[in-house]
Amino acid sequence: MFYREAGQFKTSYAADMAVFPLRQDRMVVYLFLLFAFIGMPLLARFNIGVFGQDYIFNGILIPLLILSLAAIGLNILTGYCGQISLGAGAFMGIGAYAAYNISLRVPGMPLLFSILLGGGVSALVGILFGIPSLRIKGLYLAVATLAAQFFFDWVFIRVGWVTNYSSSGSVNAPQLNFFGWVAERPIDRYLVCLLFVTIFAILAKNLVRGNLGRQWMAIRDMDIAAEIMGIRPLYAKLTAFAISSFIIGVAGALWAFVHLGSWEPLAFDIDKSTQILFMIIIGGLGSILGSFLGAIFILVLPIMIDLVPSAFGVQVSVQTVTNLNFVIVGALICALLIYEPRGFARLWGIAKEKLRLWPYPY
């Protein structure tokens, strides 16, 4: 009734190509961003409700934002370009350790540039491991990315230089100093992540709508046909690997610097890879919105499994929570692949369609 484009005329090409062509959509997004950037800090400042607790930022919102960013990165490669990767965790690790070494070894390097350069190193490694994708695909490529995962796991543990010869293998992030402004409180770190995620999400959204994104999707849908149509697989696949690894690398640097503070190589093992892969399968392959929805679901589910039984007075052990989480996530993945292969993002799209027609059936 109220969600309808009647009376909204597009009078320019720019208006026609807008990301959110409906005015109502734009308003919702603006309001949401306004709340995220200004509302949250105010709520935190005045200790209103749960937002007064540090846990809501440290335990939920910051990991949520960073993993959403990593999911966007993986979605570019797997969802848009169709190259399945089981090595997202390793690329997060590469970003984190590269950023750490750059800030450690280059005196006077601003933190922002270390994080971005960490992403850059990750992109280079991504291109290197993307080269086999020109000859192999599908499941074979999945094994190649698994090779990246295990190889870098080993590098982080065994190559002393990477961890600056720390005896325990754990390293500490530098102070979060962005050109003189130090992000110390949880709310500050939340804002840093939010800014990164917003910028990268906008960039990614526009990238996948453009020329490059269409090339990726053509490769995904059928690579031989795309090649015959004049799309260069070399260029399309390697750009997808590079951009995806860059975003995942930046997410890894943020995960290490902003979320963890000090970390061990185990932080980037294969569990992280499957976790991020599940986010995009559940949220929606080939959807930026889906990356967020998937990240929210995967992160909130274990907390729910923990909270709901205890609300009814049933005690559940940590092990059971983990295992129950496995079962539910696994079952949901199977169910979504069978009934809605495009994930939550598609369900959201269907809901919006219904809303436009409401209250009429069609």
């Binding site: 074979y140 080993w154 092990q319 496995f326 079962v327 696994g330």
Partner: protein
């Protein structure tokens, strides 16, 4: 002779530990041949089979059954669990996904793997459970030829024997039985097989059951070696490089690939490891697989991949 002795010892140890990878890879190949599903859940099936076996074994011995009866009953129980798993996988996960592309099926088996892992550990517990089905002491061979002789673990020999029996059994099953012929027909062409009256559902259940039983065999050996525990799932991932090297559709390929990987990684660990920091067993197999992929994407024994639009 001073260097040949240790070399042979490492080689034999490596070959025999490679047999364990082959055991898991065999399960993959069975399912891939019959349904083109790349089964990520194979490792989870090994763990599930091991857990079912060891827990029921402990329980039965606790009730005072004689050991041999307990072992037989526990094996039957674990086989039953695998049959249930096969039915579940076919009926609820892969059946509805018929005709989807291979990546979707692959992701579905990742989901299945998590269901099996979670459910298995909720039902059977999630600690390390020791299993002692085979002797684990060492034999010393050829003491007269080499100083100190060659140390061979009896368990590894058992692993080799079991793998040999399985391969022989599977070969007979595939070549000589009616179901085996139907299996090969389905592997060749789904629709043609269906048109001559072969039930695809039934055949898929049979292959999942067969690979479940192979997983059970692998679980008995690995469980004795490491104890039944979660990390078996990660070791089972090593079957991927084995498959890449051997080819996805070849039973002999799985065996040869496993032997190559097992021997290769042990030798690399012993002779290259000291120069680049040790622990390279962890990734050596994967990197070898990557190199093989670059040169020969279909693996050593795989069928040539031909693509059409």
């Amino acid at each position: 002779m001073d260097t040949l002795g240790p070399f042979l010892e490492i080689l034999i140890g490596g070959l025999l530990s490679g047999v364990l990878y082959s055991l898991v890879a065999l399960g993959f190949v069975l399912i891939f041949k019959a349904s083109s599903v790349f089964n990520f859940a194979q490792g989870a099936m090994v763990l599930l089979a091991g857990l079912a076996l060891v827990r029921s074994l402990d329980l039965l011995i606790g009730y005072g059954f004689p050991v041999w009866a307990a072992v037989v009953l526990a094996l039957v129980f674990a086989g039953g669990v695998m049959a249930l798993t096969a039915y579940f996988a076919e009926r609820f996960v892969l059946g509805p996904l018929v005709n989807q592309d291979s990546l979707t099926l692959f992701m579905a088996t990742i989901g299945l793997a998590f269901i099996l892992l979670g459910a298995g550990q909720i039902i059977f517990g999630s600690d390390v459970y020791p299993l002692a089905l085979y002797p684990t002491d060492a034999w010393i061979l050829l003491e007269s030829v080499f100083p100190g002789g060659i140390l061979v673990n009896k368990l590894d020999i058992w692993g080799g024997v079991i793998a040999g029996l399985l391969v022989a059994g599977l070969a007979i099953f595939f070549q000589r039985t009616k179901i085996g012929r139907a299996l090969r027909a389905v592997a060749d062409d789904h629709s043609a097989a269906q048109s001559v009256g072969i039930s695809i559902d039934w055949i898929w259940f049979v292959v999942w059951l067969a690979s479940g039983l192979v997983a059970l065999a692998a679980a008995t050996v690995w469980g004795t070696k490491l104890g039944v525990q979660f990390s078996i799932v990660f070791l089972a991932l090593k079957a991927f490089p084995v498959l890449i090297i051997g080819g996805f559709t070849s039973v002999p390929g799985a065996i040869v690939g496993g032997l190559l990987i097992g021997a290769g990684e042990k030798l690399a660990e012993a002779y290259l490891g000291p120069f680049i920091g040790g622990g390279i067993e962890y990734w050596f197999a994967y990197v070898v697989a990557l190199l093989v992929l670059l040169v020969r994407p279909q693996g050593l024994f795989g069928e040539r991949i031909i693509e059409r639009i």
